[in-house]
Amino acid sequence: MNKIQILTIGRHPEILQTVVRLVNNNPDWHCTGVITDEEAMAAFTSQAFDLVLLGGGIEKQSEERLCNVFKAHKPGIIILQHYGGGSGLLSAEIYEGLCGVKLG
């Protein structure tokens, strides 16, 4: 079974690292973490992601730009706001986002 591929973007390197580690604790999920918009767009256009998590510190303009690029490249991509910073909310947010998405 293929893992659900998750792209996480966050400006705070340590929090991003924590989020990636926590997502990867789930054996069905694989997380790629990036800090900048450029890294995010490069990753998204070169790999197949099922879900994008927008973490802390992303400016409104960047968020709009990234969402437009992601949706243009892959209409129907699930884009979620992650709140709390690698906290107890992470799994529930992803489960909610994945409702209707079939694993592998």
Binding site: G10, H12, E14, T18, G56, Y83, S87, G88, Y95
Partner: protein, 238 residues
């Protein structure tokens, strides 16, 4: 007509990690219930007991208003803004995690456990500068009346957060009744009973029950026994 939702105490999520015994009113960590994701902007209500000498190691947060209300014992807080503080029963602590903070919380007492409520509210503004505050509340100010402990306004009673939310504590003797008027149209109130029996309009609640009420301007609170409770008014759309 008012909309309501009842969360009986025994239906909460439960995780016993040994050092931490936690009851979750809403989905949290490994407890996932799609029917219990949040009540408006109120996202987390954890009823935590931390063993003597144990605690939460350093961990991050961002973009969340985090409120802690100790019910028993003392909890030491340290964070990446260089705040070192002890919160104890009678205090309320607030953190705006904003762009990101790290903190730890320890029960340094080697003999006594700590009980506290951990409450998270979605902020109305993302990526704010992280902020920490704590105050000591006067317990007399909630005896047979509602004591405001949190609001959106820095100059108002209690602590403040980045959200149109108001929290009140009440410690009512048996038979005492009071009406609560909602502060803002579109808000709802989540009632959490700390101990005793309380009636909200016609709904009987017992210790640790939760009850959400919205699409109403006011409701009545009656203590059926001596009782303590927390009212959390939050926006239903945010």
């Amino acid at each position: 007509m008012a909309q309501t939702i009842l969360h009986k105490a025994e239906t909460r999520g439960h995780a016993n990690h040994g050092w931490l015994n936690s009851y979750h009113s809403f989905s949290f960590a490994s407890y996932y219930n799609p029917e219990r994701m949040h009540f408006g902007a109120l996202r987390v209500l954890n009823d935590d007991t931390v063993d003597a000498g144990k605690g939460f190691g350093t961990h991050p947060h961002d973009n969340m208003e985090i409120i802690s209300i100790p019910l028993e014992g003392d909890l030491e807080h340290k964070d990446s803004m260089n705040n070192v503080a002890v919160i104890k029963n009678g205090d309320i602590q607030v953190m705006s995690a904003g762009t990101g903070i790290y903190h730890s919380e320890y029960n340094k007492d080697r003999e006594h456990r700590v009980k506290f409520l951990q409450i998270w509210v979605f902020p109305n503004k993302k990526n704010v500068e992280p902020r920490y505050d704590q105050i000591t509340l006067n317990a007399d100010d909630r005896h047979n009346k509602l004591q405001q402990i949190l609001s959106p306004n820095a100059g108002d009673e209690g602590v403040w957060i980045h959200q149109d939310a108001w929290f009140h504590l009440g410690k009512f003797d048996k038979g005492v009744n009071e009406d609560y008027q909602l502060k803002l149209k579109g808000n709802g109130v989540y009632v959490f009973v700390l101990n005793g029996d309380v009636k909200i309009n016609d709904q009987q609640l017992h210790t640790r029950d939760g009850y959400g009420i919205w699409e109403t301007d006011s409701f009545s609170i009656t203590a059926e026994t001596d009782a303590e409770f927390l009212l959390m008014e939050v926006p239903m759309e945010f």
